[in-house]
Symmetry: C2
Subunit: 399 residues, 2 copies
Amino acid sequence: MACALTMLLLASVRPPAPDAAERDALPRWGTGSLMLVVEREAGSVLVFDASRHELLGRVRGLGNLTHATIKFSKDGRYAYVLGREAFVSKIDLYTLGVVRQVKAGAWSIGGAMTADGRHIVLSNYAPGEVRFLSADTLETVRVIAAERTLPDGSVKRSRVAGLVDAPGNLVVFALMDADGVWVVDAGKPDFPVVRKHWDVGVEPYDALITPEGRYYLVGFLKSNWMGLLDLWHPEAMRRILADARGAGADEVPLWKVPHLKGWALAGDLAFLPALKREVALVYDARAWTARDVVPLNGTALYTVVRPDRRQVWADLVGKNGDLIDVIDVETRRVIRTLRPGPGATHPQFTPKGEAAYVSLMDGGKVVVYDTATLEVIREFPAERPSGIFSSDRAHKFGM
Amino acid sequence: MACALTMLLLASVRPPAPDAAERDALPRWGTGSLMLVVEREAGSVLVFDASRHELLGRVRGLGNLTHATIKFSKDGRYAYVLGREAFVSKIDLYTLGVVRQVKAGAWSIGGAMTADGRHIVLSNYAPGEVRFLSADTLETVRVIAAERTLPDGSVKRSRVAGLVDAPGNLVVFALMDADGVWVVDAGKPDFPVVRKHWDVGVEPYDALITPEGRYYLVGFLKSNWMGLLDLWHPEAMRRILADARGAGADEVPLWKVPHLKGWALAGDLAFLPALKREVALVYDARAWTARDVVPLNGTALYTVVRPDRRQVWADLVGKNGDLIDVIDVETRRVIRTLRPGPGATHPQFTPKGEAAYVSLMDGGKVVVYDTATLEVIREFPAERPSGIFSSDRAHKFGM
């Protein structure tokens, strides 16, 4: 009986065929393979359909985007732009309109979408906290103060950095001023902190999670190693990539890079930009031991792996900042140097990697490469473009 | 000047804010995380929004779906249902209407979407051919006859099987009756066959491509090994997984499974269903050597890895066909046996793996599991449901 009733309901859920007016009102595009490009100073975002390299429009009024990130709803319909001043804007990718906007703190450094798609999470520098917003309404549903009780009984508040989502609806982040790594279970109604690691290194500043969501790696500004949390065995963290070179030397340790998410994991290998050195560092991504060095034409900011894992693109900063070095993963050498133009940065591949978008921050353009020919196939004017976010990030941990 | 003009155009592409009527005409859902479930005999497909586990509707009139597969457009807007009689239906996922439908052969066994998103490719048994359709119009744009010239000068036509898309806009497939593996460059206007391997094994019947798109593995009905084509070095194929057990023995060689795509690649390991044996076979996915055997409660049809690679779900056929064994990847043993119901098959995970959809072919239901608790959280009536296809396959090679 219940079944028969459901079958009747089922018959009725099929929407009627749209009439001409309704068809005209449907979005002209799908949202599966969009590229959103941040225009920093303008506080706007350009939206491209990367399935046909077409500019769909510009969304303005998004606040200070000098350190912005973009997250996507699980169903791919909405983008959430998180700005430096904790301004969160929810964009309907069907209409390119801002449907909700809130200020969720004073100073934010990043964020994540929980794996269940129910919450946008902000990692705030000020106040030092992790803030969960309803992905639907953007209302704050939980604030977790990032703080540590010191031996003298006082409580120290901390900036939050390196926040990622992880399988099992977890959220992992670092307490920058309290040398901690915390894990929150965002699947429980009260968002409990289920694990707190302390003194894992001094001043954690950024982190990444490996593509399958198992390993959380955190970098420290004042310790000469990285912290590794295996989420299958989260009882303890361990030190990896310890490197004597940085200790007490002038040279900055290699992992002090601005964005750990700019690491490339290509199967068994990890490619890292080396700060102040003109190389990419290659590590064994199982044992986390050093393996190789790839000479570059300058200092890399991001190293980004093509989805087929055959190439890593390294964008250079400072000297030769208009270049991108293309590394062949198998031979681990630069096989081609691209010259996109001034301030070339943040290469982002389409989901299957047949094209790449690159921002020319000082060249006022977004350029699109065919990755088979390594030729530019499209150019679009843009106002100091920087970060580029592909909408298939909706389906990737920590992205 | 060109730039200024483009900027003007840019300003104009921002769509005006929709009025209330237009908003009502927008789809209620996004297409990023849909689940499409094939109803075999009914010739219909159920469409679920897996981001909130909601049934959106049923699409009817899709022909014989007793061996059907579904592909997705790059932008996520359209699904292409390929039926046994080479009936191809293009579904608009905004309206759930069939927007185009063609018959593209007599008997089809599968297909692919090219990496550039421009063509749907059919692997046809009859006539023996690979057929490229425009993904836009479904018009045939190229037919490649699958045939081999024999020593006596005669030409033998062959069924086509194991067709996948690969990076670089390639399409790879096997000639079942001619013992060949061919590679087509679908990025070139005339779709040239760029490589032909002959006599790689006898009667190739199905294949898979590894997730990064590098390795093509083909199974043979009458040879006791598998063929491996490394697409980074496609000059030669090699034999792997040779197994003495099957040679001349009653026991069917292990790789004679109906669907090689039902293999699970979990990092360094591959989990394979073993036909007629009540185990899953574990292989080293780098050297392609045997490593382990996981006892199951019956014979597996599909082994499917959870996106976090921590579990492999094996659906059983025949004895205990109502069960699914959940294998822990790390310890390689069954840690839980689920009892979804009669004819449980084809588990399909949501993109981040927090839920799984399972068809009960003989139970008339689709059930949804929470993969954290391993409990059923939703049930939907369905008419002999079978294959389940998540729309994030749009972004995966060979899927």
